[in-house]
């Protein structure tokens, strides 16, 4: 079967890959948005923490025999604790300063993480096998779908929806949103905002680590996987705006699909298509698709 002269297998294969990338964009931009909402900091080390998540899975398997499912729990916990440490020792000193300092600090941390991992593991990647349960695939008629890829999309969607639910539909989320709008007032009502802030950062970066573990079997685990991704995620955030949780999810997935489609139609442009879309959005809707007009 062919569509526009492209075999449906190639087309849907690329679209699925695009959807997978889109899932990562969604999970990462969601984490960035949650952190930015409460801490007013753009977490440049988000990509590095995603990379560390993947390495926790890889090293856990090599040295501790930790299987994939355990890694899916362990990596977010480890990285989340690392995040708590970063927030408690460094970021909390910056809240009264210009936003730019938070960005610069987390950029420095990203450089440190990347350098350390490059020293120990070089720049070439290592591969991580998907778990046995998810090896192989199913024939859907129009395409052959590897099980693991389907799982990545489902798991990411589930995490995104769960985050959306917690923030928009639970009392905890309501407190969080209130603290985003009026931290001082919320504190005056007896809620421990600093703890909330620390926990938010921890959970935000744990999401990045979760994405890192999901990504490990799809791409090569290497020290620069995070920095390559984070720049695209920044463009995604500019396109979507950080005002809306649902907006981050939709924008991330949508842009992943567009990128996948570009790979089929005009492969040369696939690396830049998201940046080009960003330019177009800036021209016609400067505040972003889901952003509040400043």
């Amino acid at each position: 079967m062919t569509l526009f002269g492209i075999s449906s297998q190639a087309l849907f294969g690329q679209l699925l890959l695009g959807l997978i990338n889109g899932s990562f964009y969604a999970v990462l931009s969601l984490g960035l948005a949650v952190i930015f909402g409460l801490l007013n900091i753009i977490n440049f080390s988000h990509g590095a923490l995603y990379m560390i998540g993947a390495f926790v899975a890889l090293l856990g398997l090599e040295h501790l025999g930790m299987n994939y499912w355990a890694a899916l729990v362990a990596a977010p916990v480890v990285v989340g604790l690392l995040g708590v440490l970063i927030e408690r020792t460094m970021l909390k000193h910056l809240y009264k300063l210009d936003h730019l300092y938070g960005l610069l600090l987390t950029f420095g941390l990203a450089l440190i993480a990347e350098g350390v991992f490059r020293y120990y593991f070089g720049v070439s990647g290592s591969s991580y096998a998907p778990p046995e349960e998810l090896q192989g695939g199913v024939d859907l008629g129009f395409m052959f779908m590897p099980l693991y890829r389907g799982w990545v999309v489902l798991a990411s969607l589930a995490v995104c929806l769960a985050t959306w639910y917690v923030i928009e539909r639970t009392p905890l989320g309501a407190t969080l949103r209130a603290a985003t709008e009026r931290p001082l007032l919320v504190q005056a009502l007896g809620i421990n905002v600093p703890v909330l802030v620390t926990a938010t950062y921890g959970v935000g970066v744990a999401l990045a680590a979760f994405a890192g573990v999901l990504a490990a079997p799809v791409i090569q685990v290497n020290p620069v996987m995070g920095s390559n991704l984070i720049i695209v995620v920044f463009a995604v955030v500019v396109i979507g705006g950080m005002g809306s949780i649902a907006g981050s999810i939709v924008t991330g997935l949508g842009l992943g699909l567009v990128e996948g489609l570009t790979k089929v139609v005009y492969p040369e442009a696939s690396a830049v298509v998201i940046f080009v879309i960003m330019i177009v959005v800036l021209l016609f809707r400067p505040a972003g698709l889901f952003g509040k007009q400043a």
Binding site: M90, L105, G108, I112, Y119, I231, F234, V272, L282, L283
Partner: protein
């Protein structure tokens, strides 16, 4: 007891700030002129290129308060243009540099036009994404040599008769361009235009309410900063006879931020001092510690942000008890 005017070392006191100032510049100029006879000229030229790059960057961050994470696009883009024109078209060095600068200025106008639609951290993310776009273009254009870069760029003859192949001649040329660029930045900062930039940095709504077309001022700052960053990149391409992907990579954007931050945001000489320290560190450390250089750079970033936000020059000025961190 000394009589006034006695030229003994102990008694010769420089009284007014203006005199101290003159003395400082005189020493700096003499040192700069003598340096290539003592220190390896290529190293000095690298320092000067990055010093100009950092000073240009600081015009935007230190004075207009706009953090661009895309300055590698101007630096590297101009390096490619200059290198390509010198190598394939045979332009003389001064014309190749001017062409590179013009392209960087145009890029700066484009980046500025797009990014000042948003402010704060969004602006930073936009410039980073745009620079990444330039990186991919540089990777794929036919004349850039892909991963290898443009190698063996001829330095050529300045104005058609001064052979820049000689390292000392090249050094004095680089020094002259740096001095010109630095003077231009200093002029800009002290002009009424520079004052308005600072006003926008301090309180943008107020500047708007005073009737200033804030976006026009920001855009001009972008173009100026990008043009001078481009001059620095073009010079660098001639000095090393190479334009490569390193020049347009986002690491380069990070490095210039680091130099400026380390030297002192919003001080005139700070970024140049920061460039000197970082280039010297890289030179010393690159063969000895390999990938740890990145770790060290990252640590300096963290240390600067947490403990040392005024930077080297800023701290010095603060020690001297000056409230106005603006040495001129």
């Amino acid at each position: 007891m000394n009589l006034p005017g006695t030229p003994s070392a102990a008694s010769r006191r420089i009284r007014t700030p203006a005199q101290r100032h003159m003395a400082g510049w005189t020493i700096a100029i003499v040192l700069a002129l003598a340096a290539p006879w003592v220190i390896y000229p290529t190293f000095l030229m690298k320092v000067l290129c990055f010093a100009l790059f950092a000073c240009a960057f600081n015009l935007l961050l230190g004075y207009a308060g706009l953090l661009s994470f895309g300055h590698a696009a101007f630096f590297g883009g101009s390096a490619y243009v200059c290198a390509g024109l010198a190598k394939y078209v045979g332009l003389t060095p001064e014309l190749a540099i001017l062409a590179g600068t013009a392209v960087a200025a145009a890029l700066g106008g484009l980046f500025g036009w797009l990014s000042i639609r948003r402010s704060g951290i969004y602006l930073t993310m936009i410039t980073l994404a745009l620079a990444q776009l330039v990186f991919f273009v540089a990777l794929q254009l036919p004349f850039t040599g892909g991963e290898d870069g443009l190698q063996g760029v001829p330095r050529g003859r300045l104005l058609g008769f001064i052979d820049l192949g000689d390292n000392h001649a090249m050094y004095y040329f680089v020094l002259a361009v740096f001095a010109l660029g630095f003077w231009l930045i200093r002029r800009t900062v002290h002009s009424p235009y520079g004052q308005i930039l600072k006003a926008i940095r301090e309180n943008e709504p107020r500047a708007i309410s005073l009737g200033y077309d804030v976006n026009r001022y920001k855009l001009l700052a972008f173009v100026l900063s990008a043009a001078l960053a481009g001059t620095a990149g073009a010079l660098k391409a001639l000095v090393f006879q190479l334009a490569s992907l390193t020049d347009v990579h986002w690491h380069m954007s990070g490095e210039v931020v680091l130099m400026t931050l380390l030297g002192g945001l919003g001080t005139l000489v700070g970024p140049a001092a920061g460039a000197l320290v970082i280039v010297a560190l890289e030179n010393e450390l690159a063969d000895k510690v390999g990938p740890w250089v990145t770790v060290i750079m990252g640590s300096i970033f963290v240390a600067c942000v947490l403990a040392f936000r005024r930077g080297l020059v800023g701290e010095l000025l603060a020690l001297r008890g000056r409230t106005d961190i603006d040495p001129s």
